[in-house]
């Protein structure tokens, strides 16, 4: 990636320039650059081993970088203590003291971050937000995976960080819990104006939450944009028609302006359109009716980030082969 020019000397929440991280002779992060605006939810999307966690750990002062430059609100991450004051993080793997209760975990956090005023109230508030207020005095040991994750999220913003890092916040959780966590994340971003950077390999998560996304593979950013941009750069929606008179209808359709291309399939036609597919379906039905052509069924397929991902990397995000060390993680987290 070319280092984006920054003519106005704008201050970004996060500014990463030419970041490289080597582990021995393995390059986990290979010269990436990106910047996150204040107030944004930014996603790093990529398969296992892409370098997402490594990037997050460097940005949060937990790992040294091999080369490059990272600034958080214009402070170089060399200033570890200043950076640590400004950030909150939910690590990929759990980091709770399971022998302590939920309240004690949060109380410990409050002490670490020197929260003294209204400590009890702050703890109760964050517990309420993640709907764990009635579990405050239960040992974390007894919590389900989803409850632990919610508690970690509650803890991560207790000290009112300016930026929140979430490393695969919903990995291994059931769909309902994931929805809930998405809601908390949105609330935090909207109500408390926290800038959020999250990693995920769930495409619908990035689609649902992120203002902008960088797709990472093998330590490199291969594309950055809003989910919408990424999807539309890829091409229009696809309309599938089940029809007998394929040839005839194809000719009729080719005269319409909204058609990008048409392919004949066994059962009918596959049309790629250049506009919002939902609005075009009535038009197509109308055309067919005019020419007295009978449509058996009609279906709309909209592009997902998944399609973008496949077209960019040539592989499905879930099929990308992880190396041995990551198989465990995959077993743990991939439940699709």
């Amino acid at each position: 990636m070319v280092n984006k020019a920054n003519p106005k000397n704008k201050i970004y929440a996060i500014e990463v320039n030419n970041l490289i991280k080597n582990f021995g002779n393995l390059t986990a992060v290979n010269n990436i650059s990106f910047s996150v605006n204040e107030g944004e939810i930014y996603g790093l999307l990529g398969p296992n081993g892409a370098g997402k966690t490594t990037t997050i750990l460097i940005l949060t002062t937990m790992l040294s970088l091999t080369s490059g430059n990272v600034r958080i609100f214009d402070k170089d991450i060399i200033n570890k203590n200043i950076i640590r004051q400004m950030i909150g993080i939910v690590f990929q793997d759990p980091t709770l003291d399971e022998d302590l209760t939920a309240f004690e975990n949060l109380d410990f956090h409050a002490r670490l971050y020197n929260i003294k005023v209204n400590k009890k109230q702050i703890i109760n508030n964050v517990l309420k937000l993640v709907e764990l207020e009635d579990k405050a005095d239960k040992q974390v040991k007894s919590f389900s995976g989803g409850m632990k994750r919610r508690l970690e999220i509650a803890r991560s913003f207790m000290h009112e960080p300016k930026i929140l890092f979430l490393d695969e916040p919903t990995i291994g959780l059931d769909p309902q819990t994931r929805r809930k966590i998405w809601d908390y994340i949105k609330k935090l971003n909207e109500k408390q104006k926290i800038t959020i950077i999250l990693t995920t390999h769930y495409l619908e998560e990035a689609d649902e939450l992120c203002n902008r996304v960088s797709i990472i593979d093998h330590g490199k950013i291969i594309k950055t944009g809003t989910p919408k941009e990424l999807k539309s750069s890829f091409g229009g929606d696809i309309i599938l028609i089940n029809i007998e008179k394929k040839q005839e209808f194809k000719k009729i359709l080719l005269n319409s302006a909204f058609i990008k291309s048409i392919k004949q399939t066994k059962t009918g036609l596959e049309i790629i359109v250049n506009k919002d597919g939902t609005k075009l379906i009535p038009k197509i039905v109308e055309l067919a009716a005019k020419s007295k052509i009978n449509i058996n069924s009609i279906a709309l397929k909209q592009h997902t980030l998944e399609d973008v991902f496949i077209s960019l990397t040539g592989k499905n995000i879930r099929d990308s082969t992880p190396d041995a060390s990551e198989k465990m993680k995959l077993k743990f987290g991939g439940r699709r």
């Binding site: 750990l57 949060t60 002062t61 937990m62 790992l63 040294s64 203590n81 640590r84 004051q85 950030i87 993080i89 690590f91 793997d93 759990p94 980091t95 709770l96 003291d97 399971e98 022998d99 302590l100 004690e104 410990f108 956090h109 002490r111 670490l112 971050y113 020197n114 803890r155």
Partner: protein, 257 residues
């Protein structure tokens, strides 16, 4: 400075909280010394005749205080492996608190626990008259407590150094056999190291820091020691400081993975 103190206090508090909450650890650290005293102590007391007219049991009781400190401190230090394994260490490391604060908090927390345990042993030993209360001076008790504190700091430090270098639990058993047992047996806790002890044993004993600690505690409480108490104190102090410094350096190097 106040920030440093706060960091130390926070970490210290967690150590204490965890100890109080863990019933098995609590029971174990109290029961162990008494099992030693009641079985090994009483058994060998009947078989041994000490050269200088003290009973074997009163000799060994002080060794058991040393043992209590050794085990509690070393394991408390090594416990950081668990914090690493279960990820909690990351929560601490990513917080804006100084690294030396973390190290000192851990050391003071575990030292508090170890010294209390050793004092419980001392109280029981006095109550049972294994060591006669009359022979003990106030200064002697204070000096003994200073020895206990320094010894504990030494071994928590040693535990931390090990924990920052070994990141798997499997290494634990190996350590137990190749470090803890020799440290314990060579310390003169169970049998006196004197000029009649084989020379090689005398030499290796002298590189065991626990040897000086136990010798110092014996000197303080019963006035019978191999070296002058001041000398023991000097050695134990130097070893403690060196290990804390090394632990601090090691700790700064751990990264978040």
């Amino acid at each position: 400075m106040t920030n440093l103190l706060k960091a130390i206090y926070t970490i210290w508090l967690r150590e204490i909280l965890r100890f109080v909450k863990s019933k098995s650890r609590l029971v174990g650290s109290i029961a162990q010394p008494f099992i030693w005293l009641a079985i090994v102590g009483v058994g060998l007391n009947a078989a041994f005749k000490m050269t200088n007219n003290i009973s074997y049991l009163s000799f060994m009781a002080i060794g058991i205080m040393g043992m209590t400190i050794l085990f509690n401190s070393l394991f408390a230090g090594i416990n950081v492996i668990w914090d690493r394994q279960f990820g909690f260490l990351k929560e601490i490391l990513v917080a804006p608190i100084s690294r030396i604060g973390i190290v000192l908090g851990k050391i003071f927390g575990s030292t508090t626990i170890s010294v209390i345990m050793a004092l419980i042993v001392l109280i029981i030993v006095l109550l049972f008259g294994i060591i006669s209360i009359k022979s003990i001076t106030f200064l002697g008790i204070i000096t003994a407590i200073i020895f206990m504190i320094l010894t504990s700091v030494t071994f928590v430090g040693m535990g931390l150094i090990i924990a920052t270098n070994v990141d798997n639990i499997e290494g634990f058993q190996v350590l137990m056999n190749f470090l803890v047992m020799p440290l314990f047996f060579l310390s003169g806790a169970l049998f006196p190291i004197t000029s009649s002890t084989p020379e090689w044993l005398q030499i290796v004993s002298k590189i065991d820091p626990l040897f000086y600690a136990i010798d110092g505690i014996r000197g303080s409480l019963t006035k019978i020691s191999v070296y002058p108490v001041q000398f023991d104190l000097l050695i134990v102090f130097i070893v403690a400081v060196v290990l804390v410094l090394i632990a601090d350096i090691m700790f700064r190097k751990i990264e978040g993975k």
